[in-house]
């Protein structure tokens, strides 16, 4: 009986992670230039983020589970940002877009207010480099986060600091290649085979 229940639980974990990954609700949080590209990718019709289930942009953190940090964070914004993050329900994920949120970017030197790296304030899952990152790059970052969530890596563990992953578009990648990859990703990850997923689970194999 115990074996049965653990079998169900791990499958549930899989299904939950799959559901979470495919219904990310971002918070409309933009401080500067990257916010425009975020709007271009999330809501505008060309780069439709709803293909990834992540288009329901919420204005309040209490309904959101993905915080896309778009733009420079300065000292004065650090406190409100922390409050926003704390208000989001678990599990919550953070994508930091743009050079400013990664390292301070163009405002690293000789600036008395810019926070050099948003991960000094809140834990970040995925960094998306660019100044500002193209919508394709942001979509690539969201795809990376989805893969992380599905493998259980980004599962929100309270008080546990993870190292952020940098999701840069591979150099020399053309738009056609990227579109092909996105199409393959959508095809492969839009459905889940529960039995297969459960049997492929490493933890299960070790047990039996």
């Amino acid at each position: 009986m115990t074996g049965q229940s653990s079998y169900v639980l791990t499958s549930m974990d899989r299904i939950m992670n799959w559901a979470r990954a495919n219904s990310l609700w971002p918070l409309a949080f933009g401080t500067s230039c990257c916010a425009i590209e975020m709007m271009m990718s999330s809501m505008a019709s060309r780069h439709d983020l709803s293909r990834f289930g992540a288009e329901v942009v919420r204005p309040t953190p209490r309904q959101a589970d993905l915080l896309i940090l778009a733009g420079t964070i300065v000292k004065r914004m650090a406190k409100p940002l922390r409050v926003l993050y704390e208000q989001m329900p678990e599990p919550r994920y953070v994508i930091a877009t743009g050079a400013c949120t990664i390292s301070g970017g163009p405002f690293t030197y000789n600036s008395y207010t810019t926070v050099r790296g948003a991960d000094e304030i809140i834990p970040v899952d995925v960094f998306v480099p660019g100044c500002p990152p193209r919508p394709e790059a942001l979509i690539y970052g969201i795809m990376t986060l989805q893969k992380m969530i599905k493998t259980g890596e980004a599962y929100g563990q309270p008080y546990q600091r993870r190292r952020p992953i940098t999701a840069a578009l591979p150099p020399g990648m053309t738009q056609a290649q990227l579109q092909k990859e996105i199409a393959e990703f959508l095809e492969a990850h839009a459905t889940i085979d529960v039995d297969k997923a459960a049997h492929n689970n490493r933890w299960e194999k070790e047990r039996y």
Binding site: A28, C33, A44, R46, P59, V74, R76, T114, P132
Partner: protein, 386 residues
Amino acid sequence: MSLEIRTLSEIMNPPQTADSPLSTQEYFVNMGPQHPATHGVLRLVLKMDGETIREVIPVLGYIHRSIEKMAEYLHGRQIVHLTDRMDYLSALANNWAVSRAVETAMGVQTNPRIETIRTLICELQRVQSHQLWWGVLGLDLGALTSFFYGFRDREEITDILEETTGARLTMNYIQPGGLMFDLHPNFVPRVKAFIKYFRPKLDEYETLLSENVILQERLRNVGVLSAEDAIGYGATGPVLRASGIPLDLRKQQPYGVYDQVEFSVPVGTVGDCWDRYWIRIEEMRQSLGIIEQLIDNIPDGKFMEMKPAAKLKLPAGSFYLQIETARGSLGVFLQGTGEDIPHRCHFRSPNFNNLWSVTKTAVGGKIADLVAIVSTLDLVIPDVDR
């Protein structure tokens, strides 16, 4: 001699007075810094009496990146890339403003090709900026469709600009002495195709949003800014023109090749949100007209007049040059001391000066009106804070 320096918390927590039990209590509402209708991280502290706004206290600094301090360590060509990130919706006009200030200080003359391309590309970006404003205005007032329409057409211009400048948003294209690159060969045919595509779309915008009764009710006679107040509060650009002052730097102090093209400056009569709305729609038409006049007449010549590695020595003296961006006049102040790094670099941001009229116009209205007012002021907060 001493002055009392107050703090925001002292204003928001006034000392308690013994009121009569019948008097209403005023309270404070924080709008922002994280609010979808303030276009970024603007924080407005509202003193409310019931549902009526009694006082608006804008609180800034949530994206103050100390650009002016950084500019004291950089030379003219390096300052340009910081200005992209100030008002990112008219990045090219910002580049031009700094380039013009540096060129004027150093006495550099640019050839007609450079000036024509600058004018052309800035007008293209003015259309792009107004498209975004139009889409977001609809979103703020509760109409999602305009957002899709505006962004769909904005993407067309973004593609054209990306082909020539190499970036979608922070272009860094106009440099002191010329341009970063020459025009892409596809630029002229694609711009022509875009004008052909966008003119009917602009009429579609009008049928979709302008003729909507709800929009008219939300905008007409809301946030009336008189001409006197507009001047006193330092408003420029469409905000000032909506109040009935026909002031456009492109006409008054022509720069670039604006003196060779024909266009009219739309001027409002009432100064309410509706005037600010249709002036921007009309400006898009005028900008398309300017582009049409110039696109076939780009003269030949070099695209850079200076050596890219040449040191930019600013002579001793102060220089203040203005450019009409999509939001108003952007002024760049440079104080040179004979070295390549300016002693002081200051930006007169159009958004910073346009913002303060909200303390006048929103008083007595409701919060929903405030959203319409802030939206039609078309603020870009990183430009306010710099």
